[in-house]
């Protein structure tokens, strides 16, 4: 509960560590205070070392108000032709006010998977949930959506 992921880790750890199958036990042991609410760009910059661009190509669909923080529905849609030359590589979902900020990273494959996915997540408190997409040219696109939960789903 009290623990928070470090904000100093590189984009590489955030976006690719799990690919190697080594999601961080270690990071869970490090502490830091949560970032200020609404300071999404700054958070992503600190996590990745890159400045994300707010984009309406990214759609993060979540209920504005949900009774429990335990199983909040989430749908992600990215406008992309998914060709070799123009596609989205991966999208990370972040919950800055959760004890552990990272929620999930979805990896897409051009011509094989569509950039459209639904799942259910835990939220500790009302907050902006962020989605950060890494495009094939390395640029980061970002969007955020406010979700108000009545109960803490992270305990």
């Amino acid at each position: 509960m009290e623990k928070t992921r470090p904000l100093g880790f590189t984009r590489r750890t955030v976006l690719t560590a799990a690919v190697a199958g080594s999601t961080g036990f270690a990071s869970a042991a490090l502490t830091s205070s949560p970032p200020p609410n609404g300071d999404a760009v700054d958070l992503v910059k600190r996590l990745t070392g890159k400045t994300p661009t707010a984009s309406d190509r990214l759609h993060l669909v979540m209920p504005q108000v949900f009774p429990n923080g335990y199983t909040v529905p989430l749908t992600l849609l990215i406008d992309s032709p998914m060709t070799e030359s123009d596609h989205v590589r991966r999208v990370s979902v972040l919950a800055p006010r959760n004890p552990l900020v990272e929620v999930a990273t979805f990896h897409f494959v051009p011509q094989r998977s569509e950039p459209r996915v639904s799942t259910r997540i835990r939220l500790a408190e009302p907050q902006y949930v962020l989605a950060v997409a890494e495009m094939n040219d390395g640029t980061l696109l970002m969007t955020e959506t406010w979700v108000e939960v009545a109960t803490n789903g992270c305990k």
């Binding site: 690919v19 011509q111 094989r112």
Partner: protein, 108 residues
């Protein structure tokens, strides 16, 4: 002993290049490592940390799952296929556990 029950919904056949939905669900507590038992001891983290979908051994979609994924993880995604073959769904658990489902897809 407890065995997570993975379930997948996927069509048996799809047209060449057509987008089709895949829904997956697996019974799993997704213990976050953030909780304590009634003696105050931390309950160790045990989550499914990775989901992979392969088509004929090629990864076509995958997810890194963190603690904030809800218990009984549900993932719905969309694939496109140009050849028939084996779809493989794999969940990897902390500690090395692996849960696998396979499905044959006919592409016409």
């Amino acid at each position: 002993m407890f065995t997570p029950a993975p379930r997948v919904q996927v069509p048996s056949a799809a047209a060449n290049g057509e987008v089709f939905p895949v829904k997956t669900l697996i019974s799993h507590q997704m213990e976050t490592g953030l909780r304590h038992d009634d003696q105050g001891n931390a309950i160790p983290r045990k989550i499914l940390n990775k989901f992979i979908c392969r088509h004929n051994d090629v990864v076509v979609f995958s997810v890194d799952l963190h603690e904030a994924i809800a218990a009984n993880p549900f993932i719905e995604f969309y694939l496109r296929a140009t050849e028939s073959g084996r779809l493989e769904f794999v969940w990897e658990e902390d500690g090395g556990g692996i849960y696998v489902l396979e499905h044959h897809l006919t592409v016409a």
